[in-house]
């Protein structure tokens, strides 16, 4: 018998209580999704929502204030800011999604290997440690400087930067459940390593990995914007939010919309993804729940 609260009350009572809570959508996840979904729709349907080309230059239209024709105004080349913002969302989300897909793929692979084989653990462990000692953004700048600015390279550098966290998360779950009694039980029935790992153990890591990936997504958006701001990310004239802000620096006093709008978009995207990540974490860890209720 243990001091587990389940022993104070019949377990059916606890499962009805905590089970229902666990799968009730967390307020923060809902709020984050309400912000994120319009952003995603905007990116996906950018070409239907505006007929204006984000790249077409028209000197006669430059630096126009927001109006019906150009709701977010135009920039110093006369390009429509609304169109650029929408297509910019495409870049941000593509970088975020692409890098997190790669991170998940390789992170889970290396995490599993690291948690399962002791020798691999030593090697992969040192590798992740050495990646994590660099301040993230500085390492991103170094990688981009080495491999040159392009959208794909941004995805690669974000992946390299973020992968240690996912590796560690997966490894922690594998190590935690590797000797669990249900794993031992499956082994006595004759279940092999592969099936054990992928059916019995990995699903236990799915939650924590999801949390990591939603934070990673937010971080990827931020890094892409930062690199593009510095001219190391998505190269011009692609309408990355970061390079839009960079271009707008010269016009802060004359054309406020140029810097405000991409700035707001970055904020909203990062905020929504962080809300989702926090919410997911609270749903997975009921002890933090009281803080998670909106």
């Amino acid at each position: 018998m243990s001091t587990d609260p389940a022993h104070i009350l019949p377990e059916s009572f606890w499962s009805s209580l905590s089970g229902a809570r666990r799968f009730r959508l967390n307020g923060m996840v809902v709020a984050g999704s309400l912000i994120l979904i319009p952003l995603v729709l905007m990116a996906v349907f950018a070409s239907f929502l505006t007929f204006l080309d984000p790249l077409s230059i028209d000197a006669s239209q430059k630096l126009l204030a927001p109006s019906w024709a150009h709701p977010f105004g135009t920039d110093h080349f006369g390009r429509d800011v609304l169109a650029r913002t929408m297509y910019g969302a495409q870049i941000s989300l593509r970088v975020g999604f692409g890098s997190m897909l790669l991170t998940a793929l390789f992170g889970i692979l290396f995490g599993v290997i690291s948690g399962w084989y002791n020798l691999a653990d030593v090697i992969i462990g040192r590798f992740t440690d050495s990646l994590m000692i660099f301040p993230g953004f500085v390492l991103a700048i170094m990688i981009m400087a080495a491999i040159g600015p392009s959208e794909l390279n941004v995805i690669i550098s974000v992946t390299v930067l973020y992968i240690p966290r996912v590796i560690r998360t997966v490894r922690a779950s594998v190590v935690e459940f590797r000797d669990a009694e249900f794993v031992e039980a499956a082994r006595t029935v004759g279940v092999g390593d592969f099936r054990l790992l992928f059916l019995h153990i990995l699903p236990k890591a799915a939650g924590p990995v999801m949390v990591q990936l939603s934070f990673g997504f937010a971080w990827a958006v931020l890094v892409e914007a930062g690199l593009s701001f510095l001219g190391l990310g998505t190269p011009p004239p692609a309408p990355s939010w970061g390079s839009m802000i960079s271009d707008a620096r010269d016009f802060i006093r004359s054309a406020w919309w140029l810097i405000t709008i991409p700035g707001c978009m970055i904020t909203l995207a990062v905020l929504s993804l962080n809300l989702i990540g926090d919410g997911l974490r609270d749903m997975l860890d009921p002890r933090l729940q009281s803080r998670g209720e909106l």
């Binding site: 018998m1 609260p5 059916s12 009572f13």
Partner: protein, 337 residues
């Protein structure tokens, strides 16, 4: 000494509050060992926590009183109850492995209680006092153990350390022990139970011994209370209870024990069918009805039975106790050795 009257503890549930302890009245006299038996989830550990006013949130004591030497513990304010906790009333929890803090030495954890309740004592006086108590509870070479960490000790010694913590203040009047031997091996269990009986007689304290193990009760308690689904279903002195248990649940428990002398090997054990009911969804009437071999539809499903006094000091919560045949217990003889 301590008198619990009509205690009710509730937890909030999805559809209204769930009554986890219902209409519980109990008293323990000076120098008495009361054994409290029940299965997990019957509310026995929660009762221990209620006495210490440590009901875990979001649970709440919703009515009743707990009189300790005439004062109602439930109306005391937080500082007054803290004065009593660990001083006049002590609790020993079930897991000797997790009840001690792994980062402090044993001595540290024993003297901490003194630092709270006897702030006037000097440090070396506290140490001396702790060493005395440790010796009294049978810890060998206490001055060595004093500076050790919990992980360096075996389960039996840890349990003794917990007992020292409970006794260190010197004027414990009520000791609550929640499954104190469940995690221990049989030979160590015997040592610890012996210690309890001995200490209890020495200090004339009241002991509330909570367990699921009927043999522990049979061997130590003076009086026995049986709990089922948050309610007391039977209270009696230990001899009459084991001689002729009246509540069908108590009977079921006793019958289902494998006993060396009374049953042919590999024969079927008598069982209590079904499982413990969900407290959030108790049936009307007697909560034991659908597992009960004597139950009758018309009598048992309409009203919840009340605790009735059957004979002097023997109380039972059953509508049908008058009709239940005498318990055929084949009293096992002392184990032949």
């Amino acid at each position: 000494m301590i008198e619990i009257q009509n205690l009710e503890v509730q937890f909030p549930g999805d559809s209204g509050p769930i009554t986890v302890i219902d209409d519980l009245s109990l008293s323990i006299g000076k120098g008495e060992i009361l054994g409290l038996v029940g299965e997990s989830g019957c509310g026995k550990s929660l009762l221990a926590k209620s006495i210490m006013r440590l009901v875990p949130a979001p649970g709440k004591i919703t009515s009743g009183e707990i009189l300790f030497n005439g004062d109602d513990l439930l109306t005391l304010d937080e500082s007054e109850i803290q004065c009593i906790r660990g001083n006049q009333i002590s609790i020993i929890l079930q897991e000797p492995m997790t009840s001690l803090n792994p980062v402090f030495t044993v001595g540290n954890q024993i003297t901490e209680v003194l630092a709270i309740h006897r702030p006037e004592m000097k440090k070396n006086e506290r140490r001396q006092r702790a060493l005395d108590v440790m010796k009294r509870v049978g810890i060998e070479s206490p001055d060595l153990r004093f500076d050790q960490y919990p992980h360096e000790l075996s389960g039996g010694i840890r349990q003794r350390v917990l007992i020292s913590i409970a006794l260190i203040c010197g004027d414990v009047q009520l000791l609550v022990a929640d499954e104190p031997t469940t995690a221990l091996d049989v030979t160590i269990q015997a040592q610890i139970l012996d210690l309890f009986v001995q200490l209890q007689a020495e200090h004339q304290m009241a002991l509330l011994l909570i367990t699921h193990d009927l043999s522990v009760i049979a061997q130590t308690a003076h009086r026995v209370a049986v709990m089922y689904a948050g309610r007391l279903v039977e209270i009696a002195d230990v001899a009459p209870l084991f001689e002729n248990p009246l509540h069908p649940y108590t009977r079921g428990l006793m019958r289902s024990l494998p006993q060396i002398e009374t049953r042919p090997r590999k024969s079927h054990l008598p069982t209590i069918p079904g499982t413990v009911p969900n407290l959030a969804d108790l049936p009307a009437g007697c909560p034991f009805f659908d597992r009960c071999e004597y139950g009758r539809e018309e009598a048992c499903t309409s009203t919840v039975p009340r605790l009735e006094e059957v004979s002097d000091g023997h109380w039972v919560r059953c509508h049908l106790w008058r009709e239940i045949p005498r318990f055929a217990s084949a009293t096992p003889t002392a184990r032949s050795l």
